[in-house]
């Protein structure tokens, strides 16, 4: 039976540089301002001064080094889980599994830090921990890949279902053998050694994981845009039959692309633990996979544009806290603003050509 063909969802297409069509500046401005105007009316309705609130939101994100650091900090995992969606998308695959791959990556990274790397020096311990995180994510990605290649299961559904399984797996471990003996039986892992924490930039909470994420985005972009391998992936993504006719081993490519995607998301998990959290909790990194997926789709799966969209999502998240505290409105108001901004951006530009 034939599956329905879908309207382009941006899973295929070229990997050229920024394909921005320079529309009149006015239109761009309108797209960016409209959601804030709409939301401003909403605020007035609840007796909140929108201008003052927007002012304090800008202040909290760009007002000082700390605020900017928070935005970049928030964007870091989005970049990596975004890559975990964008890379397979270029091969024509929809990987929604960044969420679970991040979780398992964080689990492996924490496990290695707690049981193995306690006394390792930073220069050795951190790279091993990074590899452990990548391995965890890769294994989870491999599960999806194996089900795809051997079981012929659609990767979208398996990655969604496995996200839930991954979440409960992490919960199982932090409620069990990874439970900190000094945390009064609460479900947290022990704190990892200070030598295993990523260095941070003074005056912020931002850590070098941010740079790792950017470097990986550039690497992924380079591989896709500049190498034979990347070319083959893109051919596969835009026309599977052509790739088959050209003698490409389609299944093998699918397999390794999904594994690589898992590794990228797994690194995101490691960075969360080593860079900011210090210990694993059942809630570590929840929703980061979905936000990364969103960032990737907003960027039409372009690894470098992804940096921008991740930054945008990070900014909205940080400003959302300010919105809530400053306005006295419930947390959901920040989610509404995010939805509005993204919808206007999505609707405000023309479809990228396939």
């Amino acid at each position: 039976m034939k599956q329905p063909t879908f309207v382009p969802v941006g899973v295929s297409g070229g990997i050229g540089p920024f394909r921005s069509n320079w529309k009149p500046l006015f239109k761009q401005l309108l797209v960016w301002l409209s959601p804030f105007v709409v939301f401003g009316v909403f605020l007035l309705f609840y007796h909140v001064n929108p201008l003052r609130l927007y002012g304090s939101m800008v202040q909290s994100t760009f007002g000082d080094l700390y605020g900017l650091g928070e935005v970049l900090l928030k964007a870091t995992p989005f970049i990596l889980t975004g890559l975990a969606a964008a890379l397979p998308a270029k091969a024509g695959l929809v990987n929604v599994g960044g969420e679970g791959q991040l979780a398992i990556g964080a689990l492996f990274a924490t496990g290695s830090a707690v049981f193995l790397l306690e006394r390792f020096p930073a220069w050795l311990g951190i790279p091993i921990m990074l590899l452990a995180g990548a391995l965890g994510g890769a294994l989870w990605g491999m599960l999806i890949a194996a089900l795809k290649v051997k079981g012929r299961l659609n990767e979208t559904i398996t990655s969604v279902l496995l996200n839930y399984v991954a979440g409960y797996t992490v919960a199982f471990f932090v409620h069990g053998i990874l439970k900190d003996p000094e945390s009064f039986n609460w479900p947290y892992s022990p704190e990892i050694a200070w030598t295993l924490r990523l260095p941070i930039f003074d005056g912020t909470r931002l850590h070098v994981g941010f740079i790792i994420a950017i470097v990986l985005a550039i690497v992924v972009w380079y591989v896709l845009a500049k190498t034979r391998l990347g070319f083959r992936i893109r051919v596969l993504g835009s026309n599977r039959h052509a790739a088959e006719r050209a003698g490409m081993n389609v299944n093998r490519t699918y397999f390794w692309v999904l594994v690589a995607a898992g590794a990228l998301a797994g690194i995101a998990g490691m960075i969360e633990i080593s860079g900011i959290e210090g210990r694993l909790r059942p809630t570590t990194g929840v929703n980061y996979g979905y936000f990364g997926f969103l960032a990737a789709m907003l960027a039409w799966n372009h690894p470098l544009k992804l940096l921008g969209t991740s930054f945008l999502l990070g900014m909205i998240s940080v400003a959302g806290n300010t919105l809530e505290i400053g306005s006295g409105l419930p947390a959901s108001s920040a989610t509404i603003l995010m939805g509005l901004v993204l919808l206007f951006i999505l609707g405000g530009r023309r479809r990228a050509k396939r």
Binding site: K2, P4, V7, V160, Y168, A171, P330, L343, G347
Partner: protein, 304 residues
Amino acid sequence: MITADILTGAIRSGTSVMLASQGELLSERAGVINLGTEGSVLAGALGAFATTVWTGSPWLGALAGGVCGLLLSAIHAFLVISRGANQLATGLTIMFLGIGATSFLGRDFVSEQIVGFNPVAIPVLSDIPFLGDILFNHDPLTYLSVLLVPCLWYVLFRTRIGVILRSAGEREEVLFASGINPKLVRYLAVLAGGFLAGVGGAQLSLAFTHSWVENMAQGRGVVAVALVIFASWLPSRAMLGAYLFGAAQALQLTVQQQGLGISPFFLFMVPYVLTLVALLIVERRKHSNTPEALSRVLAGEGGG
């Protein structure tokens, strides 16, 4: 006894997922993936609950729930079909918007009480031993949802409307040739999908739980989207998948009460793992013994 409980639970807790996945199926048949289904389910749950509070009529509530689900999916339809926005990104955004908007608007309804839909035993049939309780003692929305499945199948595979709808997802050229605007068809399919997801939400709030709290769909809309792929875009299999998922949800709670010494965290995974396993078995069979012949029977001659 326990089997009967689980099977009853399967239908009770699977119905909202089932309705949402039937809606998503329509939308995808016309070529539009709507990840915003979760949002539509929530909008439906709140709209239905609020209307029932105001009017006292769960039937008006269910209708309003459908309309709320439809309205949210209309945003998706506009952005994707008219503006050519990325479907997956738009869907995910709609999902977040739906969660945010319903949480915000629903604050005053958390403490409200409704009568809602209650199980109605069908005379005679409900007296059948074993099966009677499982199948014929449910709320009206559940009965309707079961009737919906063959109707959808009939419309999709036996009527001209169905051909048009599927053509929008498969062979646009055919529609152009016969002077039908595929965009319009897609619009209608997405809106109908949103309506069904909204009714699914109504079942959740009016019949299953009789309450509204923020984010009460808890991923049921996401699972519904996944189930459509599981179902190979066939209404009957989407129903099966949803009941399987519901059964697994009920099963894990029942198993816990037996005190078997299985970690609850493994039991939490059961619905998802079981769906995966079922998927594997179904796919295997399809590729080994009964390939296209069976699927053609299931799907009717227009199935693909």
